[in-house]
């Protein structure tokens, strides 16, 4: 592990220590801000009961399904809009109207349409995660060098082949940016939907604990969500580093 990364974890440990001391000495009111140790006890209980696994799976399931739909739809629409000016002209206004709207505002509509449950969560996640993927894919496709299009044509690649073999890989750094933004947006939305209207998932666990005044459980749930967000992002970065290694190399040589 690099020393800087280690330093980061040291700071986290120090903060937890200070927190623990503050809670024990009564500097913090343990009714509202319990000590990390009691949060840890609550978390162990959460995990031992099996509820952690089932809530985690529920959250991850909705997250993954909604995200997958958004990724496929976003890339497909982005490519179509990027390659076909007519499609771009047709969909552009709609996209620009829907995109700036805070996606949480779609939750009431989603509840009306799908009721409380996983389909509603999937829809909300897919809706919110769609825009970054779509817009970044569109920009990426528009940024593909015209010379690459000429190259594909001179070697007689048809429209489908040149989309798959040239446009998508050339736009992949942009697409990856959209997908990365969407991983966290999808998590925000799935948790929000669960907090507001759901009967399972980590968000639901936090809300139920809060309504039952089980404060340490509230914190345990929130910290679990934080770690989940961290891990999902780390996973994405690791995959991206492998898939887009060529792009980092290219950027390095162009900068040199």
């Amino acid at each position: 592990m690099r020393p800087t990364r280690l330093l980061g974890f040291v700071l986290v440990a120090v903060l937890l220590g200070v927190w623990e001391a503050a809670a024990r000495t009564g500097l913090l009111d343990a009714r509202f801000v319990p000590a990390p140790s009691s949060i840890a006890v609550a978390w162990v209980g959460f995990a031992a009961s099996g509820q952690l696994v089932s809530d985690l799976l529920a959250t991850l399931g909705s997250w993954a399904q909604g995200y997958a739909i958004a990724a496929m739809l976003g890339v497909a629409l982005g490519v179509l809009m990027g390659l076909m000016p007519a499609v771009r002209a047709m969909l552009g206004t709609t996209v620009e109207l829907l995109r700036p709207m805070p996606s949480v505002a779609i939750i009431p509509i989603a509840i009306v349409l799908f009721g409380l449950g996983d389909p509603m969560k999937r829809f909300v996640v897919a809706y919110a995660a769609l825009w970054p993927v779509l817009v970044n894919t569109l920009y990426g496709v528009l940024a593909v060098d015209p010379l690459l299009h000429d190259t594909a044509r001179t070697f007689r690649l048809g429209p489908l082949r040149s989309t798959l073999r040239v446009v998508l890989p050339a736009a992949s750094p942009y697409i990856a940016t959209g997908l990365r933004i969407s991983t966290s947006i999808a998590l925000i939305l799935v948790i929000t939907a669960e907090l507001v209207a759901s009967r399972n998932g980590l968000g639901y666990f936090v809300r139920a604990s809060e309504q039952a005044s089980r404060v340490p459980e509230v914190y345990a749930g929130v910290l679990t969500i934080a770690v989940l967000g961290y891990l999902l992002n780390a996973l994405f970065v690791a995959v991206e580093a492998r898939v887009l290694a060529w792009h980092r190399g290219l950027m390095r040589t162009e900068a040199a």
Binding site: L147, D150, T151, R153, R156, G158, A170, L250
Partner: protein, 291 residues
């Protein structure tokens, strides 16, 4: 004036025969006009010439004379405003299967997400081949340009000269009958350029093909070609066709020291200088073409 040199007379003969027989590749009164908001821009005024099978033809002209536009029209990548391109008598409306265009800007034309071998393979994406032959063609093309040991590298790990070599390998793997080259060595240093010129001549003589080579380098055009077309400044026309009767195989030192070589070069140079100096281009064309 320069028109009376023997070489110019030969150029006149070439043009005469171009009119009388059907050629391998005919470029007929090609014109490209870009419609602007206020006024039209004539990029290519009226280009008319022919290329014989397996001929090495270079086109030189002042910079910005529409050479790239012309080449994209010949390649079937850009529809002309007027005129047409005939390949074996058939009009070119899309990139013909037996033709490949090599771009000046290798960095922008290569697939940076593919390895060196992967980039060569790119040429064969639309070609039906048995896997063994596909691999064989990639190997061969890389051997010819001397990149075999770099097959697993990425293009951005290579020098400019090597990247351009890779682009040429990609074109060779496709096995085109016609190679269109747009100032392919324009951004390379002099030594690399000389090396690649000779490599290109080697390839051309060992696997005969028709080459249409666009350059702004007069010496390069004379050194490589069977025939040189001199273009006027924009809007471009052919000012003169010049047959280059220099012995082959050519040699960077021996050929370039020939008195004849120097004559050709000076002749082309004078012609282009007159063009860029703003001398009335059109009348010069007719007198020159008349021989």
């Amino acid at each position: 004036m320069v028109d009376d040199t023997p070489s110019a007379a030969r150029g006149g003969d070439a043009q005469h025969s171009a009119l009388s027989t059907q050629h391998f590749l005919d470029v007929q009164h090609l014109q490209k006009v870009y419609a602007g908001r206020r006024r039209e821009t004539v990029a290519v005024a009226d280009l008319h010439f022919a290329i014989g099978e397996d001929e090495f033809l270079s086109i030189v002209g002042p910079s910005g004379c529409g050479k790239t536009t012309m080449l994209r029209m010949v390649a079937g990548l850009l529809p002309p405003t007027a005129g047409r391109v005939l390949l074996r008598g058939r009009p070119v409306t899309e990139p013909p299967p037996e033709m490949v265009l090599v771009f000046q800007d290798y960095g922008r034309s290569l697939c940076h997400w593919r390895t060196v071998a992967g980039n060569v393979q790119f040429a064969l994406e639309s070609v039906r081949l048995a896997p063994a032959e596909r691999a064989q063609r990639v190997r061969q093309a890389l051997d010819v340009v001397g990149l075999a040991e770099f097959r697993d590298h990425y293009p951005w790990e290579l020098s400019g000269g090597m990247q351009q070599r890779l682009q040429i390998a990609r074109a060779l793997a496709y096995q085109p009958r016609i190679l269109l080259m747009d100032e392919p060595f324009g951004s390379l240093d002099a030594l690399t350029r000389a090396e690649l010129e000779d490599q290109l001549l080697d390839i051309w003589s060992s696997q005969p093909k028709t080459v249409l080579f666009v350059t702004h380098d007069i010496e390069e055009a004379v050194y490589l070609s069977d025939r040189v077309l001199i273009l006027s400044a924009r809007p471009s026309r052919v000012v003169e066709e010049l047959r280059i009767d220099l012995p082959r195989p050519r040699d960077q030192i021996a050929t370039r020291s020939l008195e004849q070589f120097v004559e050709y070069r000076n002749h082309v140079y004078t012609r282009i200088r007159n063009e860029t100096a703003g001398a009335p281009a059109a009348p010069l064309v007719s007198t020159a073409a008349g021989g």
